[in-house]
Amino acid sequence: MDKVIVTAAGILTIAWIIWFFLFSRKKQVRAAVSSGIQEVFIKVKGGYDPDVIVAKAGQPLRLIFTREEEASCTEMVVFGAFNKSAKLPPYEEVVVELLPEKPGEYDFSCQMGMIRGKLIVEE
């Protein structure tokens, strides 16, 4: 009997892990536009808050990062597709400016690729 319970609990846990980390919906924010520039404030603490940013193609995008922790994992943010990166000193605003030209999904991450965010560029 106990084996059945442990097995069932195990399978449920595995299903939950897969759903929670890989498929559940993440916080998504659309970039606000002010005087022709799209702007998003991103808090960095164990991850990017918001994790998913939606922006329009062809309009300059200004991402303002504030890293609210000292753990060195998040000290850098890398936009591989844009060949851009920035050092994020703790508790300071760092601005990353991009010009997303083609619609699509672009990942950004810490230097080691462990902490990720996504930039969705729409038409």
Partner: protein
């Protein structure tokens, strides 16, 4: 110095002050003397202006005004509105100690009330002040003092030294956390293995349980102090629906502690043989992982040594001439156009052009070139290099973020933060890695519990905990970036700027290097060597015709011909009807005669018969000289030979490239015979001659279609399309122009030897990356299943969780240490 808070004026003069105030404002954008009148008129029409004088020569406005009636802001606005600007600078200062909104106005007022400040905006959120000021009236230092006197602390951008301090602090904190966990581990280990210790051996179960309860309490500080970052990190990541290394360690140690504590408090819940706690796993694993992090931090610190060295090159102060006197000012305040004084042994603060004096300058820190460069009037000097022998003055041309050094630092930083394509796999894997390990850990628990031997619950728990602890996503994540950081830094130390990780990866796999002849293999400064004329012709006349046509040309050979005319004391007349035909030559009318000057193709085009010059022109070409034909009224009249000497190290560099197994191809617009003669002298087998400038990119494409990975090496200005077309575009830099857009790699030194060094560094870096990636993948794919217990059914082997902790801690240290080996790469 007392600073009164005066909200009304921006010049530090109170509104109640009833006298006239005289200020001196730099005005920019005045192109002619009549501009002065425009501004004077505009200013004079304002109420409160007593006198306005604009001096065109010194580009300054002298304004007397009544501060009770008008503010500086209005005066500047009027100048700007009439189409000019005042030479103001903007600076952003960090301000510490502001706690409330009223602090904002205090700081703003203090700034606005100080002389020379035009505008000040303070932002509480970002704790910063943006100040527009007149550098001729105030300095950043005195702005800081003003803020200081209002009770706050101002700082310019964080310096690398402060970042260093922060790293040192983090390192010390890690060591403290390690020490605590290690000290806790000692007694915890003793009570965890009572059978090994004589006194404990004989204790009864109840006493042991009491000791274990003690251990449970004792390990709490190991969790909440030493292991705090794991739990905080795990929670933060969890909120983002993500999991990382912190999650794994927090889960592993947390589960071990929870289970052990339950066992100690309620042993009756568990079978007789499963009543032992595992507090040692908790404290020892935390101690080991924290120690690993400390070692990793140390090793990572060394990976950015190159960039620290570059930042350290920046001078702190400069001695400039202001209002006739030499004054020392902070480097941030040097302006374009300042005259800077440099004495022997001093660092040159910014980029500029030498205007007075001569000296030799050690530029090795930027170019890698060991010999000092001789500098005289008109030569460029680069900030960060060291003046050796003479004193001189130079005019600053690039300051602040525009200097070569600042650009180099920025490029290196950007490249160090970029990704190489090879990382893609690791990135994809690390996205799924942690959830996968958690799934394996749960499966391991279930399988041990369902199928394993007794005590099943213990073995199941250990299987899961060990799996969580042994997995090392960090090694995977660190593998590429650390090697890239060091590779890019190492290259920068040798005067090679690599744009990004992709350039390194492609450069490591090159098999063909295409070298532009002029300015790359040769010096690029041709000289007129021979003049051969038709039997009835006159040498002087031919040179005169040629020089006349080249007068307006920008072709590199033109200068050689004009110089040749100069040494023959010929003054070339102005040509009429001048026409340049790219790829052929030039045509025009001189003294009523139609003169054509150019290559063989031009002569064929105009139908001039070259028979009489056939032998001579071939002979010249075979000597590596470029023959240029002169035709008068459609008939060949002479041949002028121009020769461009080889660079000193071209032969050595090309041999070196061949040594790397790379094919070297020469490309040139020059004629085939000349090109082949030069190719032979430097040892190049394949020559692409008579290529029109716009076809260079197409030739590169053709080589690529042969299946080659091609690097194109050129000067970066005329060769931009070919540089962009090539798999790797390498630009040979000159002086302070380092950030050449089209290039993937810039060789600051301007020597071909840099190509070999760039390829060698790229190869070594990629080899290192592969070693790291292999190590990280191998480690995880081998040890995670072993930890889960895959070997148990076959050989009865399980992994000790403490060993797993040690292995995990060592794996990322190993990756970083391996990357650090690159620092000792020998280039020659």
């Amino acid at each position: 110095m007392k600073h009164a808070i005066i909200p009304s004026a921006t010049t530090g003069v109170s509104g109640e002050h009833r006298g006239a105030v005289r200020v001196e404002l730099p005005v920019t954008g005045m192109t002619c003397a009549s501009c002065t009148a425009t501004i004077e008129k505009a200013l004079a029409s304002l109420e409160g202006i007593r006198e306005a004088n604009i001096n065109f020569a010194s580009q300054k406005a002298f304004v007397s005004y009544d501060p009770g009636l008008i503010g500086m802001g209005q005066i500047i606005k009027v100048i700007k509105d009439s189409g000019y600007d005042v030479g103001s600078e903007k600076v952003t200062l960090k301000i510490r100690g502001m706690t409330c909104a009223s602090c904002v106005s205090k700081v703003e007022d203090a700034l606005k009330g100080s002389p020379g400040v035009i505008r000040a905006e303070v932002n509480l959120g970002s704790e910063s002040a943006t100040v527009e000021f007149l550098p001729s009236m105030t300095t950043i230092e005195s702005l800081k003092k003003v803020i200081g006197s209002s009770g706050y602390r101002a700082e310019t951008e964080p310096s690398p030294a402060r970042e260093e301090d922060a790293k040192e602090k983090e390192y010390k904190a890690l060591l403290r956390r390690f020490t605590v966990a290690a000290l806790i581990s000692l007694p915890v280990i003793v009570v965890s293995y009572p059978t090994f210790f004589p006194v404990l051996k004989d204790l009864d179960m109840d006493t042991l349980r009491l000791l274990w309860m003690g251990a449970s309490l004792l390990t709490v500080p190991a969790l909440v102090y030493s292991g705090s970052s794991f739990f905080k990190g795990a929670v933060a990541a969890f909120r983002h629906r993500a999991a990382d290394m912190n999650t794994l360690i927090a889960l592993g140690t947390g589960m071990a502690w929870l289970f052990s504590t339950v066992v100690v408090l309620f042993p009756e819940l568990f079978p007789e043989n499963a009543r032992e706690p595992y507090f040692d796993v908790v404290s020892v694993v935390i101690a080991l992982v924290v120690l690993g992090q400390a070692l990793e931090l140390r090793a990572k610190g060394r990976t950015s040594e190159a960039i620290k060295k570059l930042m350290g090159l920046q001078a702190k102060t400069a001695r400039v001439i202001r209002e006739g006197a030499e004054i020392d000012i902070p480097i941030e305040e040097v302006l374009v156009g300042d005259t800077v004084v440099v004495r022997p042994g001093e660092k040159i603060p910014v980029d500029g052009v030498l205007v007075e004096g001569r000296s030799s300058v050690d530029e090795s820190m930027l170019t890698g070139e060991p010999l000092p460069a001789e500098k005289q009037e008109g030569d460029e000097v680069i900030g960060g290099t060291i003046n050796k022998t003479g004193a001189f003055r130079f005019r600053a041309t690039k300051v602040g973020k525009d200097t070569a050094l600042a650009q180099i630092i920025r490029m290196v930083q950007e490249a160090q933060g970029s990704k190489a394509p090879i990382q893609k796999l690791a990135d994809t894997v690390s996205g799924y890695f942690v959830p996968a390990v958690m799934v394996i850990a749960v499966s391991s628990f279930v399988l041990w519990y369902d199928l394993g031997p007794e005590p099943r619950i213990i073995l199941a728990l250990l299987g899961a905990v060990t799996t969580l602890i042994v997995a090392c996503p960090c090694a995977l994540g660190l593998a590429t970036p650390t090697s890239l950081m060091i590779g890019v830094g190492k290259a920068a130390e040798n005067g090679i700027l690599i744009r990004n990780g992709e350039a390194i990866q492609v450069a490591s796999a090159l098999d063909t290097v295409v070298l532009d002849k002029t300015g790359t293999i040769t010096v690029g400064k041709p000289a007129l060597t021979d003049v051969i004329v038709a039997p009835e012709g006159d040498e002087k006349e031919i040179v005169r015709f040629a020089a006349a046509l080249e007068k307006n040309s920008e072709h590199p050979l033109a200068e050689a011909i004009l110089q040749g005319a100069g040494t023959r004391e010929i003054t070339p007349p102005d040509p009429d009807d001048f026409n340049a035909i790219p790829g052929y030559g030039v045509e025009g009318v001189v003294d009523g005669k139609r003169i054509s000057l150019g290559n063989r193709k031009l002569m064929e085009r105009i139908g001039a018969d070259l028979d009489i010059f056939e032998k001579d022109s071939h002979m010249l070409a075979d000597e590596g000289k470029t023959p240029i034909f002169v035709a008068v009224d459609g008939r060949a009249a002479g041949v002028i030979a121009v020769s461009d000497p080889l660079k000193d190290d071209s032969i050595e560099a090309i041999q070196g490239l061949k040594g790397l197994g790379v094919d070297v191809v020469m490309i040139t617009g020059d004629n085939r015979r000349t090109a082949e003669a030069i190719a032979k002298r430097v040892g190049i087998g394949r020559v692409l001659a008579e290529v029109l400038p716009e076809d260079k990119a197409r030739e590169v494409r053709k080589l690529q279609l042969e299946g080659r990975k091609v690097a194109f090496v050129g000067d970066g200005i005329n060769d931009a399309p070919a540089l962009a077309r090539a798999d790797v575009g390498m630009a040979i830099g000159t002086g302070t122009d380092v950030a050449i857009e089209a290039s993937d790699i810039t060789l600051i030194k301007g020597s071909l030897l840099g190509i070999k060094a760039a390829i060698s560094i790229s190869k070594a870096t990629m080899k290192n990356v592969r070693e790291n990636l292999f190590g990280a993948f191998f480690y995880n794919t081998a040890l995670v299943p072993v930890a889960a217990g895959i070997l148990y059914p076959i050989w009865g082997i399980t992994m000790n969780p403490i060993l797993a902790g040690a292995a995990m801690a060592m794996s990322s240290v190993t990756v970083v240490s391996n990357a650090n080996r690159l620092r000792f790469l020998k280039l020659r």
